[in-house]
């Protein structure tokens, strides 16, 4: 019995190890390519972002629709914001950094005069809690991967969790 069990466990262990290897292998194939030339690197990056993009195109496309409707007036279509009034979304840790903080700002709004890249912006950002979790996830995935930003996407679950702490 013990022997059978231990064999069973070792079989499970092998299976898990195998799965891990496959999974890691998959990752490695993507990250492993380390071409020596700059061109090769660029091609690899393009390949990577293309595959990454193809995975989340639907969400990001939906996110862009949300962006154009609710965000672009103030933050501008290029994500640069408006000097002194509305902060930029490009090249700022507020967008590409802590996802919880970012989700919180969208749901709650912000009227604290946050300093973004050394500048303070005067307009109040309204709460966008009327957006669905999916809309918030999509628009944040969009802005985290637009305007020169590259960051992981935001999931519906992550938005749901933050919303639960607010309500």
């Amino acid at each position: 019995m013990q022997e059978r069990n231990s064999r069973k466990y070792s079989q499970i262990g092998v299976a898990i190890l195998f799965l891990l290897l496959v999974a890691c292998g998959g990752h490695q194939t993507e990250g492993q390519t380390q071409p020596e030339t700059a061109n090769g690197q660029e091609a690899a990056l393009q390949g990577k972002s293309a595959s990454a993009l193809s995975e989340r195109t639907a969400g990001m496309r939906a996110g862009q629709v949300v962006y154009d409707q609710y965000c672009a007036t103030c933050h501008q279509t290029n994500g640069d914001g408006v000097p002194n009034l509305n902060p930029p979304l490009a090249k700022t840790d507020y967008v590409t950094g802590d996802k919880e903080r970012l989700i919180r700002i969208v749901l709650n709004g912000s009227n604290e005069g946050l300093e973004v890249n050394g500048m303070v912006y005067s307009n109040a950002m309204p709460a966008h809690s009327f957006l669905s979790d999916e809309d918030v996830a999509n628009v944040l995935s969009y802005i985290r991967n637009s305007f020169g930003n590259h960051a992981d996407t935001v999931s519906v679950d992550e938005v749901r969790q933050v919303r639960a702490t607010l309500e």
Partner: protein, 426 residues
């Protein structure tokens, strides 16, 4: 002879090499070959007094021709920059500064320089050379004005009768319960109006005056950045920044196209006790009516504000009038005398084609507009299509008149100070 003169001037314009005589000391100053990139009416030229001085908000020129520039933020402890032209070529060759605070307002009157932070107004005495005698120890004439970031610049104007007028902008878009939130109703009455959303009047020689020491001179003004006393009319004129978000919050009422042009950026002639109607109404220059704001139940057509002022001039929406100056100089042709120059900062909510990075002119007679507004100086942005305001290389923000009648324009992006001169036949 007249024709020959005319054609000579035409040639001068073609070669973009406009020479003008400077009234001070008989020096001849010339416009820059490219008029600093500006498009101007025939006979006018522009030269660059200085660039990269910082975020140049309002400006004032003393009777010696020194330019005082108020910076939005102090740089190296200097919030006021003084530009001096020592060799008489019209361009600054000496730059000093003082005043460890950012802000917008600056004004010179009767041997005093006035400058504002976002909550106070300071007064500096000028000596016989019109230089500041006490740069580190001004009188604080007004203090304690509300600053909640939004619309916090305190623009100033004087009437020459011992009064200073200060804009206190509303810290809100349209006084909703929740600012800038779609669907949030407008507060009735708007509680902001007791301490902001209007023009307050104080004494120029008072010390540490605050709300209780002054009067709310006019109310119902969302935010005024450009204002000036019109000597001919004996009245204060102001340029209001109209509300945002009509077309994007209410697309069903304000279709793109016309909606994006509303509300008007309005010029008002004020008198004591005047009410321009914010936040309850706005002005629509297409319908030529005062319309109830949708946050107060309006539908884009319902008229309101029976007792509210009508504007004296209505400009397209969102183009952000940041300075107003009534021209009293003698350099420009007669039609410009006593007329209004308005510096527009340019829009941010008219995407995809932002507008209005220019200086406009409105002719006046007997203290009233006598013709339509026109573009006077354009080309500040340096690009044709401006998708976002951050793309503009320069944005007009302040205006001042020099002792010779030159018109100075400041730019709070590139920190350029322009000087516009007239060299054509009058």
């Amino acid at each position: 002879m007249a024709n020959q003169l005319k054609s000579n001037w035409f040639l001068a314009c073609i070669t973009a090499c406009v020479f003008v005589s400077c009234s001070e000391g008989g020096h001849r100053i010339s416009a820059d070959a490219d008029n600093v990139g500006l498009a101007l009416p025939e006979g006018f030229g522009a030269l660059k007094v200085a660039d990269s001085v910082g975020a140049a908000r309002h400006i004032a020129v003393n009777s010696k021709g020194d330019v005082f520039v108020k910076l939005q933020r102090a740089v190296d402890g200097k919030g006021i920059i003084v530009l001096t032209d020592t060799d008489g070529d019209g361009r600054a060759d000496e730059q000093t500064g003082f005043g460890d605070y950012g802000g917008t307002g600056i004004f010179i009157k009767d041997n005093f320089l006035y400058a504002s932070s976002n909550s106070e107004v300071f007064r500096y005495a000028l000596d016989e050379n019109q230089r500041v005698t006490n740069p580190e120890a001004p009188d604080t004439i007004i203090t304690g004005l509300i600053d909640r970031r939004q619309h916090n610049s305190k623009s100033i104007a004087l009437d020459g009768a011992g009064n200073i007028y200060v804009n206190i902008g509303a810290y809100s878009n349209v006084c909703q319960e929740k600012d800038r939130t779609p669907g949030s109703p407008g507060m009735q009455p708007c509680p902001i109006l007791d301490s902001a959303g209007g023009i307050w009047r104080f004494k120029t020689d008072g010390i540490r005056q605050t709300y209780g020491d002054g009067q709310r001179y006019a109310t119902g003004l969302r935010n005024v950045v450009g204002l000036d006393w019109n000597q001919e009319a004996g009245a204060l004129f102001v340029m209001q920044h109209g509300r945002d978000n009509l077309h994007d919050f209410y697309p069903e009422l304000y279709a793109e196209g016309v909606g994006i042009d509303l509300p008007s950026e309005a010029m008002y002639r004020l008198s004591e006790g005047a009410d321009a109607g914010w936040p309850y109404i706005y002005y629509d220059h297409h319908q030529k009516k005062k319309i109830v704001n949708p946050e107060y139940g309006g539908d884009g057509k319902q008229e309101g504000g029976a007792d509210a002022l009508d504007p004296v001039v209505a400009f397209p929406g969102h183009i952000a009038p940041n300075a107003l100056l009534f021209y009293t100089g003698d350099m420009f042709p007669a039609r410009y005398k006593n007329g209004a120059f308005v510096a527009f900062h340019g829009s941010w909510n008219r995407a995809p084609d932002q507008q209005g990075f220019m200086v406009a002119f409105v002719p006046f007679e007997n203290g009233q507009p006598s013709g339509d507004w026109e573009v006077f100086a354009d080309g500040f942005a340096g690009i044709d299509t401006i998708a976002a305001p951050g793309d503009a290389r320069h944005r007009p923000c302040g205006l001042a008149q020099g002792p010779d009648g030159s018109l100075y324009v400041s730019d709070d992006v590139g920190g350029t100070i322009y000087r516009i001169v007239y060299a054509g036949a009058k």
